[in-house]
């Protein structure tokens, strides 16, 4: 197991629970992984694991506590913003659905444990222009909104199905529409994989969503009809169990968690060694490919940086999560991206 990411996994183990057990991590170990935690938004969850331990007053812990405090005030500010954005859009005749961000933070014992940087909203395609106009207004510009008019985590479900299954929840005095438990867990799992599983916080999201699911949770809706996607989702939940201790007893994915491909776990831990946006493509690339058309110097070195992450490549090419080597999917992703690039420059 990678030493730092293994420590991150052990520190975040069950950190989302109301009574998270105190961690036995040493001060030196904690100091080593604090940059990984603060740089990836997991510091408040780490604080939850050590606030009742002997490390509470250590200098390293104070850093985590400060981050938790900051998350707490940012959460309060975001909650105000979300209600204002909903009112703004509703006044424009748009009924948005809020996913990820606060919609998942609310599942934690305290929303301050789960930071987020934007407001992810889904709207019906027919309402997209109205929503864009409202958000481009003087008032709307104040907010950081990531607007989607497609529900691409679906499995044959339309955005209308997403609306039909969605639920209204309270946020202060307001009512906010969020996806159903089933749709949301599905969104979280596929989002985690599409981004190569690089943030441990996203696996905590999956863990908390599984453990707080409603009694009438419909696994058929969550897993969907496509067997391959269903397996991806099952593997994500299995990872939350194997790496973070999510309780998946009495779920149809419990058996899959026991047979996760070896490369999958090792790749997740490898990603957690650098869980920062800056380390992820395309930001990690030295220069855009178009630059190398004019001046090929540095291309070979940059191609190594562009070698895709095995998880992301498998999902990108629609491959299975089995024990076979990942390089065919990684090559496949390179070919598809190269073809898209060539199509773009030729047009």
């Amino acid at each position: 197991m990678n030493p730092s990411s293994g420590l991150v996994a052990s520190l975040l183990y069950s950190s989302w629970r109301v009574h998270a057990p105190s961690s036995q991590i040493s001060e030196e170990e904690l100091a080593n992984i604090v940059p990984l935690l603060t740089g990836s938004g997991a510091s408040a969850l780490a604080w939850a694991r050590i606030r009742d331990s002997h490390l509470r007053d250590s200098a390293t812990a104070v850093e985590l506590q400060q981050a938790h405090r900051l998350h707490a005030v940012h959460a309060a500010a975001f909650e105000e913003d979300i209600t204002t954005v909903f009112t703004l859009l509703q006044n424009a005749g748009v009924e948005p659905i809020l996913a990820k961000g606060w919609a998942v933070a609310r599942l934690y014992p305290d929303t301050s444990l789960r930071p987020y940087g934007d407001i992810d909203l889904y709207v019906r395609p027919g309402q997209y222009q109205s929503a864009t106009r409202a958000l481009a207004s003087a008032e709307g510009k104040r907010f950081v909104v990531d607007l989607h008019d497609r529900f691409d985590s679906s499995d044959g479900s339309s955005i209308d199905d997403l609306y039909q299954r969605s639920q209204l929840v309270s946020l202060g005095d307001a009512r906010v529409r969020v996806p159903s438990h089933e749709d949301h867990l599905r969104i979280l799992c596929l989002h985690f994989l599409r981004h190569g599983a690089f943030r441990p916080l996203w696996l905590c999201d999956i863990a908390v969503a599984v453990e707080t699911r409603a009694a009438d949770f419909d696994w058929k809706i969550c897993l969907g009809k496509n067997a391959r996607r269903a397996d991806w989702i099952a593997c994500s939940i299995g990872l939350a169990h194997r790496l973070l201790g999510a309780n998946i007893d009495d779920t149809p994915v419990a058996n899959r968690a026991k047979t996760l491909p070896v490369w999958l776990i090792s790749n997740v831990l490898k990603q957690w060694e650098t869980p920062y946006s800056m380390s992820q493509p395309p930001v990690s690339y030295a220069a855009p490919m178009s630059k190398y058309l004019r001046d090929p110097r540095g291309l070979l070195a940059d191609l190594r940086r562009r070698w895709p992450n095995a998880i992301e490549a498998t999902v990108y090419t629609g491959g299975p999560f089995n024990e076979l080597p990942r390089w065919p999917f990684q090559i496949g992703e390179c070919i598809i991206r190269a073809a898209k690039f060539l199509a773009r420059i030729s047009s």
């Binding site: 604090v34 940059p35 603060t38 740089g39 990836s40 938004g41 510091s43 850093e63 400060q66 981050a67 405090r69 900051l70 998350h71 707490a72 005030v73 940012h74 959460a75 309060a76 500010a77 105000e80 990820k100 961000g101 301050s112 789960r114 930071p115 987020y116 940087g117 934007d118 950081v144 909104v145 990531d146 989002h191 981004h195 943030r199 916080l201 996203w202 920062y276 946006s277 800056m278 992820q280 395309p282 930001v283 690339y285 855009p288 490919m289 178009s290 773009r344």
Partner: protein, 177 residues
């Protein structure tokens, strides 16, 4: 204090307001977001983009700065809470901290002859460090929000999520700079 007889009514009112014993502090509300944690009150100043942590004593005083209570009344409130005699200096000390952090509608101005006590002196006077009102500005480590740079783009104009302002190579996804 005897006010000059020719002082205009407005000036007189201002002078009275700024005398420590007559000052009725009012906590700022606009532009502030407040969140309570287990043993502290967090206040986020959206206008200045600053966050402050108030300990229990400071939080108690700040919450009761309603523009109607005098310093003597605030002290009395503290005494009731603590079940012990509290020096008025404690309230003054808190108000100075609130002023420094822009947490009051009107700044608290000490009278000319007042001697500013330090935190150490205050602890020596009241004997219990926990009773000293503290307002600490929260300085964050390299905290990352969890925005995931997934916004679609064809130009940087489309990239509105902080931390993901770049549209590399004309898209399709925004990225960090």
């Amino acid at each position: 204090m005897v006010l000059p007889p020719l002082a205009l009514a407005g000036e007189r009112e201002n002078l009275m307001k700024n005398m420590p014993n007559e000052f009725k502090p009012r906590a700022r509300k606009d532009g502030l977001v407040v969140r309570e944690l287990a043993d502290e009150l967090l206040v986020y100043d959206r206008e200045r983009n600053q966050a402050h942590s108030l300990n229990e004593t400071a939080a108690l005083i700040w919450k009761h700065c309603d523009g109607n209570s005098t310093i003597a009344q605030l002290r009395s409130l503290l005494e009731t809470e603590a079940g012990a005699s509290i020096d008025e200096q404690v309230v003054w000390y808190a108000l100075r901290k609130f002023t420094k952090s822009s947490l009051l509608e009107e700044p608290f101005k000490a009278s000319a002859g007042e001697r500013r006590v330090s935190r150490r002196e205050l602890i020596q006077t009241i004997g219990l460090a926990a009773s000293v009102p503290l307002v600490a500005t929260i300085i964050a480590p390299n905290v990352s929000a969890a925005a995931s740079c997934t916004q679609s783009c064809s130009s940087p104009v489309n990239c509105t999520v902080p931390g993901c302002p770049v549209c590399p190579n004309g898209g399709p996804t925004c990225a960090a700079s």
